[in-house]
């Protein structure tokens, strides 16, 4: 299986159409690797393993044909896990957003950087947004210590990445300045724009929201050049049908409301 990484400028796990489109693409990548019901694991490290980030992930994938799990390094006390075995057995590993500096520091402390590189070489699809996207590149522009600043990533992907590109103008400005000052060029990704890297070739750009774009950013003779990439539009799937038991519960609830005087 070819090595694959999906890097996103920003998104969330909600039921809004662009978020569903992103979740379905991840499910497809995972299913292609598994050939059956895939395993998808979230690494919420960059957020400090917040319940909110983990909960939203399960909401997105809990009702889909896959086995979702979370590997929460800050919660191992209550729920010990074999880190290496768990990660290498996944079909897709998703990395959530938050502090890029803390993400890489905590991974390094737990030897996760090496395990993730191995998983990638073995064909486990990797994905992530924001800090969880920049971590795969040689460098990114993080706001983990307040102001935008350059931070080195794991370097599985060449060059650099700037996320929330047109959504956070000060981050984009810091990126353009850094590339102008000699940082390796790379890409800028708006929220809901992404790059899919497959094997050694250049990435394909995609977008889940009209107007969200991916840019290639290079230092040229006359300054930094920002070129929008042609992107494939990811259509949102129809909302998942309600599960039969939930639908039944809602029917009964609305009947009761109608007959409230009965107590």
């Amino acid at each position: 299986m070819v090595s694959r990484i999906l890097t996103l400028g920003g998104h969330d796990f909600t039921s809004r159409p662009p978020d569903r489109a992103v979740s379905e693409l991840m499910l497809r990548l995972a299913t292609e690797r598994a050939g059956k019901r895939p395993k998808i694991c979230i690494l919420p490290t960059a957020s400090g393993d917040t319940s909110e980030q983990i909960g939203r992930f399960y909401t997105a994938f809990g009702e889909r044909p896959c086995e979702p799990s979370d590997l929460s390094l800050f919660r191992l006390g209550r729920r010990p896990m074999a880190l290496r075995d768990h990660l290498l057995s996944q079909d897709l590993i998703y990395v959530g957003g938050g502090s890029m500096i803390n993400l890489l520091a905590v991974w390094e402390a737990h030897d996760l950087s090496a395990i993730l590189s191995l998983a990638w070489r073995q064909g486990v699809a990797l994905a992530g947004q924001s800090a969880g996207a920049m971590c795969w590149f040689e460098s990114g522009i993080t706001k983990s210590s307040g102001r935008p600043k350059i931070e080195a990533g794991l370097g599985l992907l060449h060059g650099s990445l700037c996320v929330h590109y047109n959504n956070e103008p000060e981050r984009r400005a810091a990126y353009l300045e850094a590339v102008g000052n000699g940082m390796p060029g790379g890409y800028g990704l708006d929220d809901y724009a992404g790059l899919l890297w497959e094997g050694e070739g250049p990435p394909s750009a995609l977008t889940a929201r009209r107007g969200a774009r991916a840019y290639q950013v290079t230092a040229g003779e006359t300054g930094v050049v920002e070129s929008p990439l042609p992107a494939r539009f990811l259509p949102a799937p129809a909302p998942a049908a309600l599960r039969e038991d939930i639908a039944e519960f809602r029917r009964i609830k609305s009947m009761r409301r109608g007959a409230g005087w009965l107590g």
Partner: protein, 235 residues
């Protein structure tokens, strides 16, 4: 010139994190501060800066008793920009429990390890429980991530350390094995027991329960010698 003592109080467990309604250990560390209304900074890094933990800290350290604040290294945009100036201006730095491996990783990434040494040398009282105890020592036993294993701490105290040192715990056996294998001698504390160091010397062992104890451990020719420390019940 007056020299301020360097002080660390390392709890085996206890304080507001574990002993709701028993403020004895927390009162003890507040009592070490010279100020009437001390500035107390909570570092919840080992928990991933869990919101519920930060809330419990503020409840346990109310405004009428002290000037409480916290630093979240996962949300730096909300906190003080100059971490060094902020930490050096505190009377007490209180480190919460959780993963000591993650704690030390995050601290190093933000340069907190160096700042805490500086704060200690400047007389800011350092304290904490569990991971917030282990971190101050040269070496420690962590059981957070599965089977107990050895980790290297900040090394302010030139000993090993084991927390939640209950008589039947897996940690206790693991600690003894590590000492036999050459881990440096050190101190252990049961839940509700604390070890108060002045400089690099143990000043006294304290407890918020009458039966809780601290211990000194050293390897000998025929095994490990465990010495129960005279421990002062704080009530």
């Amino acid at each position: 010139m007056e020299t301020v003592p360097r002080q660390i109080v390392a709890f085996g467990g206890g304080g507001f994190s574990m002993e709701s309604g028993n403020p004895l250990l927390d009162e003890y560390v507040l009592g070490l501060c010279r100020s009437e209304r001390p500035r107390v900074c909570f570092l919840p890094s080992a928990s991933g800066d869990a919101d519920h933990y930060v809330v419990r800290f503020y409840r346990a350290f109310p405004a009428e008793r002290c000037e409480a604040n916290h630093i979240s290294l996962f949300r730096r945009e909300q906190g003080p920009e100059d971490l060094r100036a902020h930490l050096l201006s505190q009377d007490l730095i209180y480190v919460g429990g959780g993963s000591v491996v993650s704690l030390l990783g995050v601290w190093r990434a933000h340069g907190i390890d160096r700042i805490l040494r500086e704060a200690w040398e400047a007389g800011v009282v350092l304290c904490g429980l569990s991971a917030g105890s282990l971190c101050w020592f040269e070496e420690a036993v962590t059981g957070f991530h599965g089977p107990p294993r050895r980790v290297k701490g900040l090394g302010l105290l030139p000993f090993s350390n084991c927390v939640h040192y209950e008589p039947t715990s897996e940690r206790r056996l693991a600690y003894h094995a590590m000492l036999r294998e050459g881990m440096r001698p050190g101190y252990a504390a049961e839940d509700s027991a604390g070890l108060h160091f002045i400089g690099r010397e143990l000043h006294r062992a304290i407890a918020s329960r009458p039966a809780a104890r601290g211990y000194w451990l050293d390897a000998a020719a025929d095994g490990v010698v465990e010495t129960r420390l005279a421990t002062t019940y704080l009530a």
